[in-house]
């Protein structure tokens, strides 16, 4: 009887290779999440600005990322920018640009939503107590905003991690690609593909699930 296909994962450094592939997308996701938080804060404040032009600009940006599949945006930056502007960006750079473009708008919208969700009378009653504007922010607005924002931001982060899998489509060697290479080497093992893709599926789950649980927990505690 032949070995089970799963054993190929433990031959040589195959498992390490897979983890290396996973790290490629995770690293992209982490960079994207960091940048999205940073720019999202600016985006959210811009959305709340009283200037009409800023609002329209943000609205357009948000609608673009809501309507266009991330893969289309990836193609535009990876293939299109080379033609349009002569920028020959590599896959990973394109991915960071696109996912940050997307994440900034989504994160900004969450921040805007969290900021506007706090009833006006909270600010007013805090001000009525004689707190300074800084104190109102520090003790009243920011804690309440964070409680609302954090679970949603974590959920968005899980979505970003899942979405970075798309870099496979613009020739970045990530976990699926590594998996295909391993399967190619073990073409005599018929069920190799089953086990490799199953393990990749599981790996993604193990990465994303804790975040989802955390978000759910925070939501429950702060509801």
């Amino acid at each position: 009887m032949q070995d089970l296909g799963i054993s190929i994962l433990f031959k040589g450094i195959n498992f390490q290779r897979l983890m290396g592939g996973l790290w490629v997308t995770l690293r992209l996701a982490l960079i994207t999440i960091g940048l999205s938080c940073l720019f999202g804060l600016l985006f959210g404040m811009l959305m709340l600005s009283k200037r009409k032009i800023a609002k329209v600009f943000c609205r357009m940006w948000l609608e673009i990322v809501r309507f266009m599949p991330q893969l289309v945006l990836l193609y535009i930056v990876y293939f299109g920018f080379a033609r349009l502007f002569g920028w020959d960006l590599d896959g990973e750079t394109s991915a960071v640009i696109v996912f940050t473009f997307w994440g900034t708008a989504e994160m900004g919208d969450l921040i805007r939503g969290a900021l506007t969700s706090i009833p006006l009378h909270q600010t007013e009653s805090a001000a009525a107590l004689g707190l300074t504007k800084g104190q109102v922010y520090l003790y009243v607005l920011i804690p309440q905003t964070l409680r609302r924002l954090l679970p949603q931001a974590i959920n968005l982060s899980t979505r970003i991690i899942k979405t970075t899998a798309l870099v496979k489509m613009i020739n970045v060697t990530e976990v699926l690609k590594v998996g295909q290479q391993i399967i190619g080497q073990f073409y005599r093992q018929p069920d190799a593909a089953f086990w490799v893709y199953f393990v990749i599926f599981l790996l993604y789950f193990l990465v994303c699930w804790p975040f989802s649980l955390l978000a759910k927990q925070l939501e429950k505690r702060w509801a």
Binding site: F67, P69, Y75, K162
Partner: protein, 223 residues
């Protein structure tokens, strides 16, 4: 912009759009059905099915569609479970979407005020009548925005169907790009095609939401 190139390939895109739309729609409909079933299993605390639903929802929400499709299309056949590319597309999209739809239904149900349930009971409705006339209509109305957001999300997600060698919009564009090299035109048409598909969905969503709001759902408190 080369308009003659665009004109001569419009029908390629119409064909691609038809694939995207058709399989997107199948996926959406099956997702709604699966999501409703999962939600009901949890709501009525059906033993076994309820735990299955919870496990499935976590699994589907925390893994990328791309990885799910690789497993379905390239992994499962190696252990004797074979589906056509089209079947994989619908199964994959349903697997992903069912979980999101279930969560949308559930949050709708959770939003129904407990006092409403008691009011229904107090006028002598049976549990079944209460669910049918009082609870579900309100839950559904609350869930509508999230359900529509999921529809748009799922149609966008169809863009990875090209890994199944299906000639959806993305694959049509990719084929034209690699053969003709007119990247800018190809991508321009791709963007337009997705806009043409998704804008009407968004418009319908806004209309339905507005109708529900005017019908009195907007203000659920102290009614």
């Amino acid at each position: 912009m080369d308009w003659t190139f665009i004109a001569s390939h419009v029908w390629d895109y119409v064909g691609g759009a038809w694939v995207t739309l058709r399989f997107g729609l199948y996926g959406v409909l099956c997702s709604l059905a699966l999501g409703m079933l999962c939600c009901l299993a949890r709501y009525f605390r059906v033993p076994v099915f309820r735990q299955l639903a919870v496990g499935y929802i976590e699994l589907a929400r925390n893994t990328p569609l791309l990885v799910q499709l690789f497993f379905l299309y390239a992994g499962l056949p190696r252990v004797g479970i074979k589906f056509s590319a089209e079947a994989c597309a619908v199964i994959g999209l349903t697997f992903l979407g069912g979980a999101y739809m279930a969560e949308a239904f559930r949050s709708g149900l959770e939003a129904v005020d407990k006092a409403q349930v008691e009011a229904g009971a107090c006028i002598g409705l049976t549990r079944r009548q209460n669910i049918r006339y009082v609870i579900f209509p309100q839950a559904l109305a609350t869930a509508v925005p999230a359900l529509f957001a999921n529809v748009i999300f799922l149609i966008k997600e169809t863009s990875v169907f090209s890994v199944l060698a299906m000639m959806d919009l993305m694959n049509v564009a990719d084929t034209l790009r690699t053969s003709g090299g007119r990247t800018v035109e190809v991508l321009f048409m791709l963007v337009m095609a997705y806009l043409i598909i998704l804008l009407p969905v968004s418009v319908i969503a806004t209309m339905v939401e507005r109708r529900l709001r005017y019908a009195g759902f907007g203000d659920q408190h102290s009614v």
